[in-house]
């Protein structure tokens, strides 16, 4: 596979790109155009965890833990209504499907998480949820370049596509330029080198931010969610392709 050196590919365009991508400084995430590859937020790393809280909300029970954080995260996942302690149509449909598929069955946690993600993506696409549709389209785009298992293999491959997929006013987009040039995102160190080359934006280091995000990244939930998107993508192409894809999903 060709080794990509992003810093050589677009050495000149980075400062403007950084300034436009992080207009308020290098905060916790880019402020515009951000399309992640999973819906998780800080306290909600898996759908198994989300499902427990959603069941409590659906039953009108008190949530144990940091209610504000938990409900905030579920709201940002479009599973709980804004301003209300009730599930959204997406949350309700997802929870019902999870219960129908998994209740009373002996299913390993890994398989169950992928099944939950698949059902959530399916429900979101059916209900035309804008954020999930954008994630799914982004996933389908990435899949044109590499197999699913390439993207979910580790935290770097899960993380970099979303964080570098921003187009500045000149049409400069590090991710797309790299993929067009080489068909792959290359090595993590190369991206860190690129981030370092950009220096500071409003006093904060992009490299430092990336290292911090990678350190705190828990790949299990995002991996299962990507597999869920892949299962939906494969299902749309027919049974033969779907069953061929299951091998990669369970590997």
């Amino acid at each position: 596979m060709m080794r990509v050196k992003p810093s050589l590919l677009f050495r000149d365009g980075l400062d403007l790109w950084l300034g436009e991508t992080f207009p308020k400084g290098v905060g916790s995430r880019p402020q515009s155009q951000f399309t992640p590859l999973c819906p998780f937020r800080s306290s909600m790393r898996t759908l198994e965890r989300a499902s427990g809280f959603m069941a409590q909300i659906a039953a009108g029970q008190t949530i144990a833990g940091d209610v504000g954080q938990i409900v905030g995260d579920l709201r940002s996942m479009a599973l709980v209504e804004p301003g209300k302690m009730s599930l959204t149509p997406l949350g309700t449909r997802s929870l019902q499907t999870w219960n129908a598929l998994l209740s009373g069955r002996q299913v390993s946690p890994d398989v169950a998480e992928v099944v939950r993600a698949t059902a959530l993506v399916r429900a979101a696409l059916t209900l035309n949820d804008t954020d999930y549709v954008a994630m799914f389209k982004f996933w389908a785009e990435l899949r044109k370049f590499q197999r699913g298992s390439f993207w979910w293999q580790d935290q770097y491959h899960q993380f970099f596509p979303a964080y570098f997929n921003h187009t500045d006013s000149r049409g400069f987009n590090p991710l797309r330029l790299t993929l067009r040039a080489a068909g792959t995102i290359g090595e993590a160190d190369d991206w860190l080198e690129l981030a370092d080359a950009g220096g500071l934006v409003n006093g904060a280091s992009l490299k430092g931010l990336i290292e911090q995000k990678i350190d705190g990244w828990r790949p299990g939930g995002p991996r299962a969610f990507m597999k869920g998107m892949e299962a939906n993508r494969a299902a749309a192409t027919g049974a033969t392709h779907f069953y061929a894809t299951t091998k990669e999903i369970w590997a």
């Binding site: 069955r105 992928v114 399916r122 061929a244 369970w250």
Partner: protein, 381 residues
């Protein structure tokens, strides 16, 4: 939860219709085994045997026979105990790129074990249960559905422990050919399943490789002519000429040495890479005599030589002087090999006694006494 069940769950989660029937297995029948030529497969088999230090008599003929048999149908590998049949079955599957499921036959096998039936659940209800052949056929179809070049085969170890006709009789028709036309007309009848799942089609690529032990008297069941016609039989004999036996002794030493290094955590360089001459000489004389038709005519296999090597390496901690190694070998022959001679008749036990006699080709007092004891015990009963 099986892969198939996980796939069904995933399909349901993705909004696909789950396969409530086995009708889809009919679509998997048509794919044929993928290989270039039988000769290439035979070469692959020989290379895999070499890589694992597996010694068979006339390897070229053996590999060609097996490759030819499996290219067109099912195989029975027959031979005496200790000839590596089970390991060789894995080699044969690998040479064809097939995954292998395995099952060991028992005397009380019936169609329930082979095809399936209804089994009580914890709640007291009856639920369908697939037998080993039906289960392997289903997994083979699933494998082919995922990738047409990845069939699943079934090894039935010690098949003649079972009452073969009773257990396999219902498969006579299905097993009689691997042509697509035949298999599409002959699904397995799963009478115990719901109507939608009652028919299970056998992929063309599916193979059964059975092993049978053709020496041990405790294996009493034979193939009827009807079922024999459904399998090709390849015999796995033991070498009797000195050069082949010597090669076998060297190969088994290499296996035992690897085992010892791993088992004992020994440094590889502390264990000689060449088999010690003193022990080789004794083993060569012994096994040539044991296997020779004009002598004891006892087809002891490579596994028994391997066991002796392991005992010697353990007793001498990987490397001892000639005397220590010879003494360790004699103990191993007395304690491990001779007790396996219980099935020899009195005449052959007499010849075995002669081998270990003071004026015999492999004089060993301890082994001689053990054989004499065995012979006396046999005559008592």
């Amino acid at each position: 939860m099986t892969t198939s069940q996980s796939n069904d769950l995933l399909a349901a989660a993705a909004g696909m219709d789950t396969p409530a029937t086995y009708a889809w297995t009919q679509e998997q029948v048509v794919h044929s085994l993928e290989y270039s030529t039988v000769a290439d497969v035979a070469t692959g088999i020989r290379e895999l045997l070499d890589a694992q230090d597996l010694v068979v008599d006339d390897p070229e003929d053996f590999a060609t026979s097996c490759a030819t048999a499996l290219a067109s149908g099912h195989l029975v590998l027959q031979g005496p105990p200790g000839t590596g049949k089970t390991t060789i079955v894995r080699v044969l599957a690998e040479a064809f790129g097939a995954e292998l499921m395995s099952s060991t036959a028992t005397a009380d096998w019936s169609t329930f074990d082979v095809i399936g039936g209804l089994r009580p659940t914890e709640s007291g209800a009856l639920a369908p249960h697939l037998g080993c052949v039906a289960d392997a056929v289903l997994r083979c179809a699933e494998g082919i559905r995922s990738s047409p070049s990845q069939p699943v085969w079934l090894m039935i170890d010690e098949m003649n422990r079972a009452d073969i006709d009773k257990a396999f009789g219902q498969l006579f028709t299905v097993l009689s050919s691997t042509s697509a036309d035949h298999l599409e007309r002959s699904p397995i009848d799963l009478w115990f399943e719901s109507r939608e799942r009652r028919e299970l089609w056998v992929p063309r690529q599916f193979r059964i490789i059975a092993t049978i032990n053709d020496v041990d008297a405790s294996f009493v069941n034979t193939f009827s002519q009807g079922l024999s016609r459904r399998f090709q039989f390849v015999s796995l004999g033991v070498s009797t000429d000195a050069a082949s036996v010597q090669a076998e002794i060297a190969a088994t030493y290499a296996q035992a040495r690897s085992w010892f290094v791993e088992e004992r955590g020994a440094q590889a360089e502390d264990v000689p890479s060449d088999a010690p001459d003193a022990v080789v000489t004794i083993l060569l004389g012994l096994f040539t005599a044991l296997r020779n038709f004009d002598s004891v005519n006892w087809p002891v296999g490579s596994a028994q030589i391997l066991d002796l090597w392991k005992a010697v390496l353990l007793a001498t901690n990987g490397a001892g002087d000639d005397g220590a190694q010879a003494a360790a070998l004699e103990r191993a022959i007395r304690d491990r090999l001779v007790p396996q001679a219980t099935n020899l008749d009195d005449e052959r036990l007499g010849r075995l006694l002669g081998i270990f006699a003071e004026d015999g080709p492999v004089p060993m007092d301890g082994a001689w006494k053990a054989v004499r004891h065995l012979r006396n015990s046999a005559s008592t009963f």
